[in-house]
């Protein structure tokens, strides 16, 4: 048996022992979102209780299973049965749960979300039958939230690096052919064939060659790459090594956002472990293929998601794009052939090799193969990280997985593709999510952010929001994008504040056309997408803002006012006490009044009015003003 085989055997028995051992194991959902939801204090409480009860239990930190709305989450495994998942925990409930389950043997089915695969506990449903998970197909996320991402043995025990072993016995051409015929398309946005991208670079002359993983997930509202890197970094790194082998690269980079410290930490731990057992370094697993990989931290520039800007940043320069061609495949880092793939693309590669192209391509539609991860957020009941086969409808994603709109409100639209994407109206939620259908609807797949909007979201405000973002992030190199984003934002500001005229809408359209057609890079060329789609699908809302000076969602501050309903006000004085500009007056137990001329419309009174009164309301600025 080779050294590597015996390592895998050891890893398997270690993992098996953890999963079936008699000693209880408590898994903590400790990805960034779990940490933000307070898993650290839950973990602290658990340790305290275990100590008090004198119970010996192993604590294992895992990544995110994707059910972010149920954070903080833990899973408890007892008597070698499948771990049972508990969500929305508080430090109050946890001691009770631990004592009931681990001392009295009551698995508290009332608190359980479900049990993972394996020997089941009576009365506990299967976790993967949960309405949020059932419609999903987990290929890329298969290990996320299941294994300890900082322990390479967990990855090895779950078929980790099997694909790499297989690849090292193939020729680079065979690897490229496999990925190409699987129909794999880049998951970063544009959807270009991954195999073809590799082929261009493999055939390019020049040495050394470079392989880059683009982990600069800059789209606001998207966190798929963060979760994958935090929860299963080896899956991405295995894909990176395979890609490097295919193109003949000797050096690899992971360019990661500095805003993702935990992902960077897990990547560096994983690379250290790989080095130790020769999965990177000289003569990988005894082959004649050598590769060094380092993590480069980005410093906060959205445009660095663009390939040529990303490379400038790795080289220590201002992250500004340059015209293409020449493409990175021939002229990349330091002028050498370079391939850049997105995190999820690389996270999918090992599975394609391991399971075969036919297995992979039976998921999805004719032109969009496989699965795709999305971050489902915004005004939806169940928010989280999801993975579905390409071709799933928006309806299924929002209503089945997401459980519908928050607080029983009506859906208005869904935004896909980040600042380069667009808004799809609720009337088109039967749309299939695949590269072609989304492009036809005027938006893009992008990296996978899905932001659900309800009737309380103002569509003009959303366009204004994205333009504010892209104006800040425009690198300034080319004129259409640099000036165009400013001018478009000016007009949107006029609309939002009720100062625009109908001819401004025409002007907005005209500038958008120029920016789209005249900009140098992908950022500028797609900047107008949010404007185009919102103007196309929500023309009446634009008209209302311009002609009637009205914002039906009651979002645009200049078009609304706050008002205290005299009949509902209980005179508690909370709003008056909190108002930062002393605009609210009234005696205790008497109706309070807002002095309009002083009000800055911060909304604190609205949010602090006790739920039993709900006397502060947002209304149309014109209502009740003239009499």
């Amino acid at each position: 048996m080779s050294d590597f085989e015996s390592l895998r055997q050891k890893a398997r028995s270690k993992y098996e022992e953890l999963r079936t051992g008699q000693k209880p194991v408590i898994y903590l959902g400790a990805a960034s979102c779990g940490k933000a939801a307070g898993i650290a204090s839950i973990g602290g409480k658990i340790k305290e209780i275990l100590g008090e009860l004198g119970i010996e239990s192993k604590l294992v930190e895992v990544g995110c299973v994707g059910m972010c709305c149920y954070e903080p989450m833990i899973y408890i495994q007892k008597d070698g049965k499948a771990p049972i998942c508990y969500g929305n925990l508080t430090t109050k409930v946890v001691p009770e749960l631990i004592k009931d389950f681990l001392v009295d043997g009551d698995p508290r089915t009332d608190l359980a979300l479900g049990a993972f695969d394996g020997p089941q506990t009576e009365g506990v449903p299967r976790l993967f039958d949960h309405p949020m998970l059932k419609p999903q197909v987990r290929v890329v996320l298969r290990n996320c939230g299941v294994i300890d991402p900082t322990d390479i043995d967990h990855y090895l025990a779950n078929d980790g690096y099997v694909a790499l072993q297989k690849v090292l016995a193939m020729t680079p051409e065979e690897v490229i052919e496999e990925v190409k015929s699987a129909g794999m398309r880049g998951r970063g946005g544009a959807g270009f064939s991954t195999g073809m991208k590799w082929e261009f670079c493999a055939k390019a002359s020049g040495s050394p060659k470079y392989m880059i993983c683009n982990a600069d997930e800059g789209d606001p509202g998207a966190f798929m790459n963060r979760s994958l890197l935090e929860g299963d970094p080896h899956a991405v790194l295995e894909g990176l090594v395979i890609a490097a082998y295919a193109i003949g690269a000797s050096k690899g980079y992971v360019y990661a956002r500095a805003e993702y410290p935990l992902a960077i930490k897990h990547l560096n731990i994983a690379l250290g472990q790989m080095r130790e057992i020769n999965l990177i370094g000289e003569n990988i697993l005894g082959s004649d293929f050598s590769l060094e990989v380092i993590v480069k931290e980005g410093a906060g520039a959205f445009v660095c998601g663009e390939e040529t800007a990303l490379m400038a940043s790795i080289m220590g320069e201002r992250g500004m794009p340059r015209p293409r061609p020449p493409f990175p495949a021939t002229h990349g880092l330091w002028g050498k052939p370079t391939t850049i793939n997105n995190v999820e693309t690389l996270g999918t590669v090992a599975t394609i090799i391991r399971e075969g192209k036919d297995w992979f391509s039976h998921f999805g539609t004719e032109k969009s193969k496989g699965t795709k991860t999305f971050s489902l957020v915004g005004k939806v009941q169940r928010t989280g990280l999801i993975e579905v086969t390409l071709g799933t409808t928006l309806q299924e994603i929002i209503y089945e997985i997401g459980g519908g709109i928050l607080d029983g409100k009506k859906a208005k639209a869904i935004q896909t593709g980040g600042p380069s994407g667009g808004c799809i109206p609720a009337s088109q939620f039967d749309l299939n999510v695949d590269y072609e259908s989304l492009t036809q609807a005027g938006t893009i797949m992008g990296s996978g952010g899905l932001i659900v909007m309800d009737e309380e979201t103002c569509i003009v405000d959303i366009a204004h929001y994205f333009l504010t973002f892209t104006k800040e992030e425009s690198c300034g190199k080319c004129t259409p994008c640099r000036i165009g984003t400013h001018r478009m934002l000016d007009i949107l500001h006029k609309i939002k504040t009720g100062k625009a005229e109908m001819k401004d809408l025409e002007k907005l359209h005209e500038i958008a056309w120029t920016v789209k057609n005249g900009s140098l890079c992908g950022l500028g060329q797609t900047v107008p997408n949010p404007i185009y789609t919102t103007m196309k699908y929500f023309e009446d809302e634009y008209h209302e803002h311009v002609e009637d000076r009205k914002c039906r969602a009651l979002v645009c501050k200049d078009l609304i006012r706050y008002h205290i309903d005299a009949e509902r006000c209980i005179g508690c004085g909370i709003c008056a006490g909190k108002c930062p500009v002393d605009a609210i007056s009234g005696e205790k137990k008497q109706t309070h009044v807002i002095e309009e001329s002083l009000c800055i419309k911060c909304g604190i009174c609205f949010h602090s009015c006790p739920p039993k009164a709900r006397a502060v309301e947002k209304i149309d600025a014109e209502v009740g003003q003239d009499g």
Binding site: A36, Y260, A301, S375, V377
Partner: protein, 153 residues
């Protein structure tokens, strides 16, 4: 001349591709990039000060003003925006009397907008001194800020 800056530059090496990691480490050490530090890096790397300044100002991570004792970062991601991040930012601007990128006169708080923290499922979100607070309303934020002001956090 600060020995720390020299140490950082030497640990990375003065190859221009190491400029960003060097700036990041100096900022981690000093809290921001001072004029002196930038000049020193330029000298040590044998690159013009304007080149260093050009690179540093390109990236939003780098700060050129000394941050406050408590650093408040309000997420402006899309999910946070549709769930009310703008009023949250307005609240901090009014309450602290500063704009994003500024520090209060007493040096206690600084305020920043941040593009997206990737905790979108908990929107709206803010970070104070590395601690993430989710599912915020202006009322909840006010309570948290008061606790910082009173030194309870």
């Amino acid at each position: 001349m600060s020995s720390k800056v020299r140490e950082i530059v030497e640990s990375h090496g003065s190859n221009p591709s190491n400029l960003i990691p060097i700036l990041q480490d100096v900022q981690t050490n000093d809290g921001y990039l001072s004029e002196n530090a930038l000049a020193e890096i330029a000298g040590l790397m044998d690159v013009s000060e304007s080149t260093i300044y050009g690179v540093a100002t390109f990236y939003t991570q780098f700060k050129f003003v000394k941050p406050g004792e408590h650093e408040i970062r309000i997420c402006q991601g899309t999910a946070c925006h549709v769930r009310g991040a703008e009023s949250l930012l307005d609240f901090f601007k009014t309450n602290l009397g500063i704009q994003p990128g500024e520090t209060t006169k007493d040096g206690r708080f600084s305020l920043e907008r941040v593009a997206c923290l990737g905790c979108c499922a908990l929107a709206p979100v803010m970070v104070i001194d590395g601690e993430v607070y989710g599912h915020l309303t202006t009322a909840k934020a006010e309570k948290i800020l008061t606790e910082y002001k009173e030194g309870k956090r």
